[in-house]
Symmetry: D3
């Protein structure tokens, strides 16, 4: 029977000019939806897991359309709640070569930012789940969102459900009075699995330094938060907006595994590739005994996302397995 | 030399599913910009007048793109100010036949809603103008917007510039603590020209009743606000979302003129037709001695807008004159 | 708690040239999915009911995409089965004025046409349902499909679930060795509710004649099949491809109700309007005590479908109620 | 064996903003090709005749693409000649309701305008043909085009091939030093069949007056040019850009037939409807003994063109016959 | 005078999601047509040869549109026959980088698969031809298609027309009861020219082994089938879905020529590149005395196809010659 | 206060098939506008300068739309003049890899080509300007355009405004009776800054030879035209249509500076990159004391243009500065 994941976080309307047009050229926007946690859930659903996402949308035609996007991409949406007046948004101007992609967020006052503890029946939602996943973006959105996230993790801990957190330190997101340094320790203390970087570990927890080898930072993090069983990281070399290289790392408290480096040139859409990696990590750790295999799976999933338009990794299990097995040629399947 | 108009108000990003798609079907949004006052300015610019619009946009790529839209459509944009973080928006699901178009507004917290007196140098802006135009939407947005609007009108009165107001009573817009009934009298007392309806006159000022003949309501309004020289109204018969009929009325304090009724079937885009009428009224009164001619001009302009996609009436003076002269056939021009 | 409907039938890929292009002009096809029974289920889901559709798709990316379309539009898809090699299709060239829309079907050898009894667990599926709905198209597709349909109805009868059939006599569809006249009587004998026409009653069952008043044909049908409690019909006057008029009729064994006639000019998409009517009938009879109200509801739902691109009626309960209450003006909702 | 028609004239690139956008809104142009004579040839090819068009295009990728458009639509293109540097163009802003469609021509200096007698081997081209068709636009383009047209007609007369001319008096097209009044008489003297109007007969030949009943003008024309056997006209009532009515007339020297009036509301594309009529006239007179039948055929063909995007009437013989037989309902063909 | 080629095989409707969208994302399909043999014919027509394609389409609007596609791209289509009910199709999800393109075929029951000997008048068709070309796909489709192909080759042999076969061993295509190993020898025995690979020679004829140098496999093939004068192959190195390298080989019975290797990165559309190579081989061998030149021509043609959307190589002779002459820079032509 | 530039030259309608389609595949054209000089002005406006362009358009909807494009992109358009009948055009078929982009010009008889001295009030236009910029294309268009260009430069010299010329020797453009060699010396003698190449210096002025090191050619040019203070050049290595490398050179009469080489792979649109370089040169020399910084700025601006669809470099000052400072990674900006 399929493993089950529950994710929690904001889902934004993503509006982007067609192709490589700039904001000043756009006469229409391509419309998809995305958010770090829902991206993970959809990715896992495409890989064959059961997945549900919990969020809050305005109770209007736009909130319903966002829900329909998640349903279309195989998520259970029964626990989405409705209220408030605005859906979070981001505008994406897609770059190429030396020109960076530009993102403009409009999340202030969104339906999700007004979420509060007690609105969501976590016990019902988490029943039967194998994993609860959150990211560091959620507690940055509002005090309520942070509290809800904590509420969910506490319940997951209580129910013996594995908690996965993908955390980093986008300091400029924390605008409601609490800093990332104040909020993160309590949240991370509930995690069984953490995806992060040396830079993040230093910034968020004051541990080690930014350029320290991953295994050393990871070891410091695990010492500080003993619930954590694995710390996973990813090195991304950004040669240009069109050409990246990625490699994964995993610290299990004793040894540090490293994946192969994948070379990704002719990138189609770079957004959501970190979420695809996180989904790969979760899928891998839930399905492989061997952590190296899990890590190779995660890197393959991440690499494939660079070829999919939109926020979400829509590839199948078989596509990830093929790349994980070293088939990098992309030869036509007939 | 061309007459000059200054308008003031919010300009929103308009996002609409292609064709007759519903929100649930949309995979892209068509992008234009619109707002009741800027629509009037652009319409007048296409008719040959000089026109400038004053508004506030966020200082990012989206705010600049909105400005560029106004520039493209011939407006002077030098007096637009930048700040805040969000551009006002509305989402439009276009209806047909018995299915109404649906509009979802997202204006709360917009850059414009945070505007305050003192931010704009009205004396410089109004210099050389023949007309300042505002609508009843602006004071509904925020206390600051209402104060700015008043500030502009006071300056216009002082400088001897004609003030035109297109006012109605969308009560559900007034959410900042003041009612339309509290705010409107002071604002209207600065107007030389008012576009409204018996319904509005009753709702906003408690004068007459909703179904009273236009001339009687208009007379009551003019008695109450002696600065007003003309009150103009429009009767719209909505046979279906695709088929309307319109007729104009004008009360000059002594007599009430009525235009021909224009029958508009096979409507392309109904939004902004009221603004096209207001622009026609302003153009007409500035350029015709005879009020009936002005009114016929306004009705022709209004009718043509129903055939133009987007918020704004992009027709030329010659196109309006041709319809005003009774050429309703729409025969090809080669 | 929401009422629940189960539908069963083929879902086709619908491929249509953009706008009013002919097949010879098309360089792309707009892609949606549709089928008489799924259209009913989706329509009812938009009206607020719980709805599941049962069908069979090929086990490939196209079959999954079809399922995703149904999920997006709120259907439960857990009971869809996969196998075979081709998805049924139809190509639609949209007509206007005097030019008829043209449909080319490609259903031979479809995954659905190969369905057989025993493939579907009707008892599980029908559990908790209020209504099972089928159309006369399904038994025309293949002997297996006809048998499956019968199997479902027998189970529904046994479980005390209301059976609704929308039947007509497209004789040219019956190509597998059985005629509509041979197959239909047994199928119809399991129905509680039948949607049909005098023409169909005559052609399929040899009862009455084609031009007989609806109530007389309906009475003959009910005499022949005593399980039937209501017979519903619809008169469509086709003034042109762009202009229709519709009116509903309902025979309850004693009296014949008639709805108002709705005039629909400026049609956007005529396909699926019969299914929208059927959904309206089902919704109406499940929610109104008064059959006339149910019929008015059905006609309003049907009329609104003419304004929605695609096969399916995506309007909300509130939109149907507004038209049912006589609001035909289609005035903008802000 | 299929009857064969040869047509001669300029084919232009037609560039039009999508939907009802104005020139000022366009960010792309829809691209088709059209010209009064080629439109007739393609229309006749769709009706089942053999058709070849003779023209001149620049010898570059654009000229080849234009040829490919004609080939796609079933024309023989072997006699097209290449040279010069520019393809003729027209820009079309599609109107609706009271807003006229606007056409901007760019034909000066086109490859076709530089055509000269001797460039085309008319004897080879006309071999086996049943009809040669020209329009009054061709001699207006340039002296060379007028001479080529005459050359073709002389050869056709010699070879006993029926000559059809669709002539009118767009005076503003005649810019190369000759007037329509000077040029037309000689050209028309070679025609067996003329499509024109009372207005045109008066303007071009000084016969009768503009508002004279068609049969009287036609009789005067036939008296003046005794080669003519039939004069055909069409009355178009232009209620709006979206709603026309058409009726055909035919004078055979003795009696004047009139067709039914067809009411065309919800027009999709009005351009090329006159050419569709001309094609219908040619097809009708070549295939029906009875002139009334021919005329009804022509009016049906003309009406159907109003529903086809682009310049050309892409309907089949069966579609025209169905409308000719009175089936105006546009009901779906499955 | 231009050389003439006749090709025979199925032409499929190709339906592909826009850009890099997956099947699950598609809301429309881009529509072109393609088939291994017609692709060769069109490619040769663009290079300046006379080309006709023989196939069978359903006698409906889709079959006609497919024919029109071939006509547009310069093919003679007079010998296409019509019947059956379905057009063969393939759905293409375009990959990038490590993500393979996915193809789903729907050919079962197609109009072409029902073709039979005697339906086609090969003697008339082949009259005046210089080359008849087939591929190994055709005999895999159905027994009838295989017999027709043989019939054509026998006639071509008889008429002294050069026969070219592009053969490989897609074993999963052979579903009608015969294996590729059973069918191919007789067919290949009629060929003068064969395009294949060591892998194919081993799989289809049991000659040599899969990794043998091309010249050795080719020599074995030529020994077995003495009619063959040249065996041509192509090495494709698939670095990713976006980056390939190609190199050609030619065995003439005595020596083996090799072309330069062309490096193709930033691939636009990989489909049909083998057919572009085959067309290049045919053009080259018909127009160059020197086989190396022919091979260089073929590789250049093949490389250019990777830059053209769709199945078919639409480049001109001059474009191929420029690349064949070593101009790989792709600098703008003004 | 922002520096101000005035540019003069033809602006063409650019019509290009979508994506990588060939002319033969196009069913629509993407529409933008461009011209070497206006491209420079717009680029400088995006960088923050004040910019006005002077040109001549036909006085119709197309000429107005072209003006609106310039207005949208921040140019002052008050000095554009209207007349004539045709707008200059170019058609662009975008290439990739080894396939060159193809350009077809249609400029003969354009409104701009008919421009004459005296039509433009240069004194008013140049008032307050810091720089007047022209290119070698303008004098090639017509004698009148050459004279106007000279007229402008003479006035600029008189007013002490810096003159910049981007000149090369497209000999095939000079068709009105004068050669580039006859016309260029007088024009160049008025320049303070010249952008050109060794090849151009040799071809146009007979100085040096084509492959001479840039500094030597530049020195010869400066000797011949003593007004010139700087000569700037650019080396472009064209590895394929998708991959270029660029490097800048600057001769100031004493030393020759060279920029870093930028590697640009995955090119989006190559057109207008030379103009982006010229704009970068002008901005750089007006804002940096150090010529090397100016040159690095120009190369960065040029490189970024390769990622922007259309003719014009729409990047911001901050984007150029970031690349100039060595940030080539194109990492997302959030």
């Amino acid at each position: 029977m399929a493993k089950k994941v529950i994710t929690f976080g904001e889902v934004m309307m993503r509006l982007s000019p067609p192709g490589y047009e700039t904001f000043s050229q756009a006469n229409s926007f391509e419309l998809v939806y995305g958010g770090g946690e829902a991206n993970v859930a959809i990715s896992l659903a495409y890989l064959g897991m059961t997945a549900a996402h919990v969020t809050r949308f305005p109770d209007n035609g736009l909130g319903k359309a966002a829900t329909q996007f998640l349903r279309k991409h195989w998520l259970a949406t029964d626990h989405i709640i409705y209220g408030g007046s605005m859906i979070g948004k981001y505008f994406l101007e897609k770059g190429a070569v030396h020109r960076p992609s530009q993102v403009i967020y409009e999340r202030a006052g969104s339906a999700f930012s007004e979420i509060e503890t007690g609105m969501i029946d976590w016990e019902a939602i988490l029943s039967g789940a194998d994993c609860f996943h959150w990211t560091g973006i959620t507690p940055a959105i509002s005090a309520g969102a942070a509290r809800c996230c904590l509420e969910a993790m506490q319940m997951a801990n209580e129910m013996g459900i594995w908690v996965s957190g993908d955390i980093n330190s986008r300091e400029n997101m924390w605008n409601y009075g609490k800093t990332v340094q104040e909020a993160m320790p309590e949240l991370v203390s509930h995690c069984d699995l953490v995806i992060t970087s040396s830079y993040g570990i230093h910034e968020m927890f004051g541990l080690g330094d930014k350029d320290m080898p991953f295994k050393d930072s990871a070891a410091l993090l695990m010492d500080r938060f003993p619930r954590i069983k694995k710390v996973i990281g990813k090195t991304r070399t950004t040669l240009s907006a069109s050409h990246h290289q990625i490699k994964g790392h995993l610290w299990d408290g004793e040894t540090c595994q490293g994946s192969e480096t994948l070379n990704i040139t002719h990138i189609v859409d770079r957004v959501g590739t970190g979420d695809a990696f996180a989904a790969g990590v979760i899928y891998g750790l839930l399905h492989y005994e061997d952590d190296t295999e899990a890590l190779d799976f995660a890197v393959a999933a991440c690499a494939l996302k660079h070829t999919i338009p939109g926020d979400v990794n829509l590839v199948s299990l078989q596509q990830v397995l093929s790349l994980k097995d070293g088939n990098t040629s992309g030869a036509i399947r007939r």
